[in-house]
Symmetry: C2
Subunit: 288 residues, 2 copies
């Protein structure tokens, strides 16, 4: 099967689960329910993080159980909430997201704040359900994976990156600041996805270490390629990006170097990493 076909099939399977999960949520008042559904399932996305999580878990022989799919959905809820809050007028003030109106442009700022809160909280409802449902012999793996996700999503992870990205002056040198933002705002949740999958599957500490390094490199590749795409489209005017600071040539070199490092780190695992390596190569040359 071609890589593209396998990715699309994985994406479709995950989205089917996500749709049935959202469809089965009762008792959420309007307009909160519609707003959550709009951003989580009505607004597309690559589903990169939940797919990375599932691939990593399967690489380490975890089964595709209800617990696994709940944890994958939790990661997507975290990603989606961070986008809704990032787009708010007091943050990036973005009217559009993935070619459609951003959440607050459709539902208003108050509902957008609360929908983000609801998705953040829902991520943890899902993680506790995943832990509750997990078989006894792997329950501690699920607890450890969920704890790691919570750390990398929090005030020392994703949110740390958002704060430094938002703050006018943090006293950091511009390159150190950019590095901090890319590490936390982008790489942390990507790394968390890979590590959580590996931990659920019972990976060794050696393999977890290699995956952490690879995850961080994949995060940087993903973000710098995003910057290059934004530059091509002329959509990076108000942003401090790698391309802006170092130029296109350096940006392309960083993508190439980081991709090579990630591939080497993945190859060091005693597992079949072929699908994951192809995914990383494709991320480095994507155009949207």
């Amino acid at each position: 099967m071609s890589f593209e076909k396998e990715y699309d099939e994985r994406k479709e399977r995950f989205e089917n689960y996500l749709n049935s999960f959202i469809g089965g949520l009762g008792d959420i008042p309007e307009p909160l329910y519609s707003s959550i559904a709009y951003s989580l399932v009505g607004n597309g996305g690559k589903r990169l993080r939940p797919i990375l999580f599932i691939i990593a878990a399967e690489m380490f022989d975890a089964q595709e159980t209800e617990s696994l799919l709940k944890m994958a959905s939790a990661i997507e809820c975290l990603h989606t909430y961070s986008l809704i809050h990032d787009d708010l007028p007091c943050m990036d003030n973005a009217d559009m997201r993935r070619g459609k109106a951003s959440n607050h442009k459709v539902y208003g700022e108050d509902v957008a704040v609360l929908s983000g809160d609801a998705l953040l909280n829902m991520a943890y409802e899902l993680l506790f359900e995943a832990v509750s449902l997990a078989d006894d012999d792997i329950k501690n793996n699920y607890i450890r994976a969920a704890k790691l996700i919570s750390e990398l999503a929090g005030a020392r992870g994703l949110i740390a990156g958002q704060v430094v990205d938002t703050a006018v002056d943090t006293g950091k040198h511009i390159s150190a600041r950019l590095n901090y933002i890319y590490q936390h705002k982008t790489a942390d949740l990507i790394t968390a996805s890979l590590l959580a999958g590996a931990i659920v599957g019972g990976a060794t500490e050696f393999d977890i270490g290699r995956l952490r390094e690879a995850g961080d490199n994949i995060g940087y590749v993903f973000q710098i390629v995003d910057d290059l795409i934004d530059f091509d489209k002329g959509e990076d005017e108000d942003k401090n990006t790698f391309v802006k600071i170092y130029g296109i040539k350096e940006a392309k070199r960083a993508v190439s170097d980081r991709t090579a490092m990630a591939l080497t780190q993945l190859s060091a695992l005693n597992k079949d990493t072929s699908f994951l390596r192809t995914l990383v190569k494709n991320l480095s040359i994507r155009k949207n």
Copy 2:
């Protein structure tokens, strides 16, 4: 020991833990760290919910372990995040909270949004730490309690109440709407605190059922007394409160009826509920 002295001692013990927890958090960038500390530990509060949680847990013979204190802190983080987001300009637009400037008046709207997010996420970091540290024989109690907290804090609990409180027109009759808001926005987290404590302590399903009824009544008492205090101070101008809709006499009657119900429900437990019952009586006659 007098009730007041015992309450104050419990509050001080909890706050000492919370202070050392916040003091020990490294790696959170400014101004996020200061903003979190400002609202969580610099801004007072009764600490009602964590104290209810600890009292309930001790009633059912749970030990005051690190896990217990982490769960209590998680509950206070949830309460504090909800206040920061409630005060935002796009929500209640409140300049003051507990006699001091609200979070966004000090740190700006962007940091206030992210601090709320960080506290919400931190609640779950704490809950997963609590679960991880819990002894094997009560780990499942901690998982069940944390899962229940996550449900009552989420889109079908606390946040549901916030959305209906914010929405201009939800199609609900005004009394049904008020009831919905009081149930979810106020009572759910109070009930969650009592139930989580009882579950951690291994309470029977019968006792959990009685505590759920009592918790909901305590939540209503707490909110209607708040309304009466706001009315006395002339601070309820823009709010739809129980006092506004039904008048003072009915509000006082509701407090008295709900208090009596809560006391009866608590008396049905096969435990020493004397401290909790005195707490409920004091809540019903408080003046601030």
